[in-house]
Symmetry: C2
Subunit: 333 residues, 2 copies
Amino acid sequence: MTASNRITIYDVAERAAVSVATASKALNDTGRMAAETRERVKRIATDLGFRPNVLARNLSSRHSRSVGLLTDDTYGRFTLPVMAGVSAALIDHGVSVLLCALGDDPVMGRAYVETLLDKQVDGIIATGKRLDRPLAIDAAQLPLPTVYAFALGPPEALSFVPDERQGAALAVRHLIAQGRRRIAHITGPESFHVVGERAGAFRAMVGEAGLAANDALVLPGAWTESWGHEAVARLFNRAEAPDAIFCGNDQIARGVIDALRERGLGVPSDVSVIGFDNWEIVAEQARPPLTSIDMNLKELGRQAGAALLRLINGEAAERGVVKLPCSLVLRNS
Amino acid sequence: MTASNRITIYDVAERAAVSVATASKALNDTGRMAAETRERVKRIATDLGFRPNVLARNLSSRHSRSVGLLTDDTYGRFTLPVMAGVSAALIDHGVSVLLCALGDDPVMGRAYVETLLDKQVDGIIATGKRLDRPLAIDAAQLPLPTVYAFALGPPEALSFVPDERQGAALAVRHLIAQGRRRIAHITGPESFHVVGERAGAFRAMVGEAGLAANDALVLPGAWTESWGHEAVARLFNRAEAPDAIFCGNDQIARGVIDALRERGLGVPSDVSVIGFDNWEIVAEQARPPLTSIDMNLKELGRQAGAALLRLINGEAAERGVVKLPCSLVLRNS
DNA sequence: CTGAAAGCGCTTACAG
DNA sequence: CTGAAAGCGCTTACAG
């Protein structure tokens, strides 16, 4: 029936002594037929090693079983885990992910998105290097189901982001549970949205616990080891030194740990330290290994992928911002 | 001719008063026909806003115009720029990139690759988190054109990697050109292949220039700021201190710069410092901003993508390891 | 419960 | 130089 020697649905149908229509319905669990027929067709397909030609299926069914993944990230510390999660969620449903690496140039971006639309993607996932900076392309305008992952879309869209406040609260609660009473927060530049979120949650938790909620204990700076180092110098040259430090990321925490050691302070015996991001290469190499907050980005990607699948299938429209919980990864700091 | 209201090649043919066969050939620059006819068809297609249905084209032409991108990276510092380059090289040719995020589990990996093959990808790009660690899947066994990007494939395959030795030599040559005579190399763990490569090139260049090629001037350690800090302590507590330091990455370099400042040494007045990776967020924030070596990973991805296109088109088979030059990014250190 | 037939929208020998 | 026709390998109304 077919020129090439690849097994087609015609071969399966012939062998099962049914029509290709019936074979198709049997394999796709559609239509009605005797259960025995369906089973037989499926078994024969497996025996023959039949793999449906996706290209043909796409043309008939008029959709591509693929989604576009838009990103403006060319560095990837946070984006790649999200992408891996999206991909994992979709692959089991035979949906593949087309990568579309946008630059910061909207004109180029639009051209890229055009080719994505030409490929007839069934939906779009938008992600980006920073939560608080929109992509060069307005993905929500696209005539397609769209989900934002580790990126904030417009209110009428569906966005998945880490719950920064919950993550920060988790960190502070952990320190309090260790019996710490004077907790400082050393964090990144105030221009980052997450810095405000985490600092807000920090203040709230500390206040709630009836501890000293002194603004001098919140130190915004840079996302670097050396800032952690420097901030420790500032904090510990005062009368009342903290007994715990919640750091805005793991690199800061690493600088903090090193600075404390240089001062002869034990971690965690004298001062408890907790990081954020759970960047394994940094957290595990610290001495002692660093306790940290994990944003579960792969899981976030997975949920975004699953939600996009639901939208594509026309299930109840979801919208708004879904904040996913962070988790505490205990090490020895 | 068609049920939907989307513009098809039938609409174009009708309007141009030619057959669909001629329209197809005109638009694809195949076949022979009067130049005038070709132009007219193209113009009408543009006027009508005709966009060919890629799904149909794929089925007829029996290829998907897509390639699979295999990676085992879920962190992405180096992989994402490579991916962006690959994507940029292919998108202009209407070829899209299917992301396939392998875990470290070969069984899962194999299943993922199966679905990629089902999608009839025309080729594969394999990349990974570390140059010197193979993927869980042996991509070279796949019955498809395959290119390795920022990953070493088997000798019979085509691999693109940065020229580590050239990059290191570039760094050392720059320091020598600044009049530096006693150059140290502070770098990462010896278990990394790149550490050996860069250190080898460092020794060769220093020897060639007739400078002190003392093994005590090569300090392997960790990829962290704190190791840079510590290594400076070791180097400068000796009689003969270096006047230049070539660092294995930018984080080390940052620690080095901070440590030198703490010792009251001027950078670059007393000691020149150069990093590796050109990780902008680190290099630009250093005080002074850090001169560094850039591996040009996006360009590497671009070349790998272009090479894969050539393989897919059946042009002369290429193989072996292509080392792409690094470049020097001058800042103020 | 099953099948014949049309159709998805292109491309590509082949004939003229 | 141009076109009629078959074909890519499935799916899906529709008829029975």
